[in-house]
Symmetry: C3
């Protein structure tokens, strides 16, 4: 059962293992991971407690999607700490680079939850939510590919450009469609949506910026362990805002305000109440 | 294109291949896999035949979800037999351990189908089904991580604890929400749900127990091929109950009784018939 | 963090890397990949432009699913070009074989979108779409397993047979259920559905045929780079028809005709407007 994949192929394995082990035992880098394990563990418990008073089934759906965000996040950070989703990429002309590729993998699962929570709050319909989620997943998977690609440096930036293009579709849905959808909601929902929208858009723009200037990209902080730790801290801080603060504001609002969200149909004339 | 991942990193590859090949050619271990390929193959054909008389579209949805359970299972066991999803983990202080990690991977796909069938039978709504499935997938993925983690023994048990915590959410939905939801169904549906509920809860508790005492955990049967075969047989027998017996009871009921299941809306006031 | 998986296990890694690199730098093979990157990139832009005039939310859902097809495809071909999803399988009695396994992986994501677009056009319900998608994903994943399996040649054909069995379920839904569903639509939708149905069925049958006669199967064109390039071109041409032509016809129709599609409920008596 001998299969070599592009992912797996290597001879310099022992050395790679050393590099990964060395990186993960760096206190600054490890700190950037453990802090989010602790924070997201707290979030899981706190949000479950806060969300218990929500009674409306639709609001509960938003709460569950929101609570699942720190659940994915804690698993993501533990996987990095365990070294399960950390590897070494050997890029021509740059050398061996430790990559915490698990971040890009788990964003595939956490970011659709953030979009689901945001879109459901706006009372959007299935078509617009589907659009946002499909291009969001495409954005994350191509981001993962960017980090994994070692054949040539320019190919990494092709992936980056493709990922960014998909990101623009997500931004268009948030800033365009959903901002219009939310106008039929009451004032409190509109205010919260506006706040969460700007939080999300500003911080999400931060991720590709960190990618571009961090170890995966231009490596402005160097490609050594110090640069890796700085990059990791930047991502971790973005995660605190885009996941923890986002989820906290949303769950608190739903628990305190018990809002009613008006939802849209799929809009086809002649359509029966939909099951799809 | 040289990438080393945590998954792939190793020098003792030839030796690992020998270990996997040796394990898979053990008759006792191989038997624990082939018996389920045969059983699930029979199930696929039998359930498709049994389910052909179901006419109600909602009941058909339950039948399809149920038939998909042995479909995933047969692929899961063939992947183990093919060695595609079998590997070797080198745990500090314990040595090299053959792991049939494909089991944990494919549960990610089969267990949501079981929950979908059970929840749809109870007539539950999207929010509760979403809750069960999200935390079920989180449980399976963290279980996979537990089996893969080799950095330290204690980290494997951190994963195990996290996976068990997610399992508690799934249990709460089954034993709490769905047991209340099913009360609005007719008596025959209630009886079947009660039976399937206890079958599922009891057997699903068995899986983490086998993990804890089997080769991945405390290794009460040893870490050699004999211990591996015993552990594999225990999982295979649990699968027979939790997948084959579960699916058989459900498909037979739907085909014979042709029940009508009353379904809940999402409950938001002001909601139009939903598309999301 | 030393884990050896079936996927990863190998010592002949450097040699494998050479094989992959050699294959990917073959102009004929590389051409079969780049041509689809270019075509699908053009498709993404063109379909987005063409689809902008669609106003009905249900028709928009079909457009988004359709536009996502070239989005997945462009990422799939870039991943092959990057060598991320290309590997070497060492099959007993046949030797080392370069495999572009990423094709089978990404079909798992692109083919459900094709089925979603086709089923939504027919106005089918959730049960039938769920059936088609579940068995389609099972078909793709077992096809991936077929390409990855190196333990024995006959095991590859067991996977192939299983994958083909799942394919028959998909065909039954398209040719049976959906062909009946579409009869309640207006004449223009029926005509387009008929055309897309035959395009899909004929071309989709081509994929297992190419697998069977190509490098993964009987290797009628040899197992060298020339055989690989011929096989890759056959797949690429099938993709042009089954993805680009399919999507072009569908988006153009929706943009020009602005049709109204009548949708079915889940059909359970006593059901409230559904949320699941």
């Amino acid at each position: 059962m001998v299969v070599q994949t592009g992912f797996a192929a290597s001879v310099a394995t022992l050395q790679a293992d050393d590099l990964v082990g060395e990186a993960l035992s760096d206190p600054l880098l490890a700190g950037s991971l453990w802090v989010n394990v602790a924070l997201m563990g707290f979030a899981l418990l706190a949000f479950t407690y806060m969300g218990r008073t929500v009674t409306d089934e639709y609001a509960k759906l938003i709460v569950v999607a929101t609570i699942a965000i720190p659940a994915v996040s804690i698993a993501s950070y533990l996987a990095l700490i365990s070294g399960l989703t950390v590897g070494v990429v050997d890029i021509p002309g740059r050398g061996e680079l430790v990559t915490l590729w698990g971040r890009y993998l788990t964003w595939t699962f956490s970011t659709p939850l953030i979009l689901a929570a945001l879109g459901l709050l706006a009372g959007t319909n299935f078509t617009k939510l589907f659009t946002a989620v499909v291009f969001d997943v495409a954005m994350c998977v191509t981001g993962l590919a960017a980090a994994m690609t070692s054949q040539a440096l320019w190919l990494r930036w092709v992936w980056f450009a493709l990922s960014t293009a998909f990101f623009l579709v997500v931004l268009a849905v948030i800033l365009g469609s959903w901002s219009r959808d939310v106008e039929s909601q009451d004032a409190a929902v509109q205010r919260l949506f506006g706040r969460l929208k700007y939080l999300t858009v500003v911080l999400w723009v931060g991720y590709p910026v960190v990618w571009a200037i961090g170890t995966e990209g231009l490596a402005l902080f160097g490609t050594g362990i110090a640069g890796l730790a700085v990059t990791s801290w930047l991502y971790s801080l973005l995660d605190v805002g885009a996941k923890f603060v986002f989820a906290f504001l949303l769950v608190r609002f739903l628990a305190v305000e018990q809002p009613t969200v008006t939802r849209q149909g799929l809009g086809s004339e002649g359509a029966k109440p939909a099951d799809d």
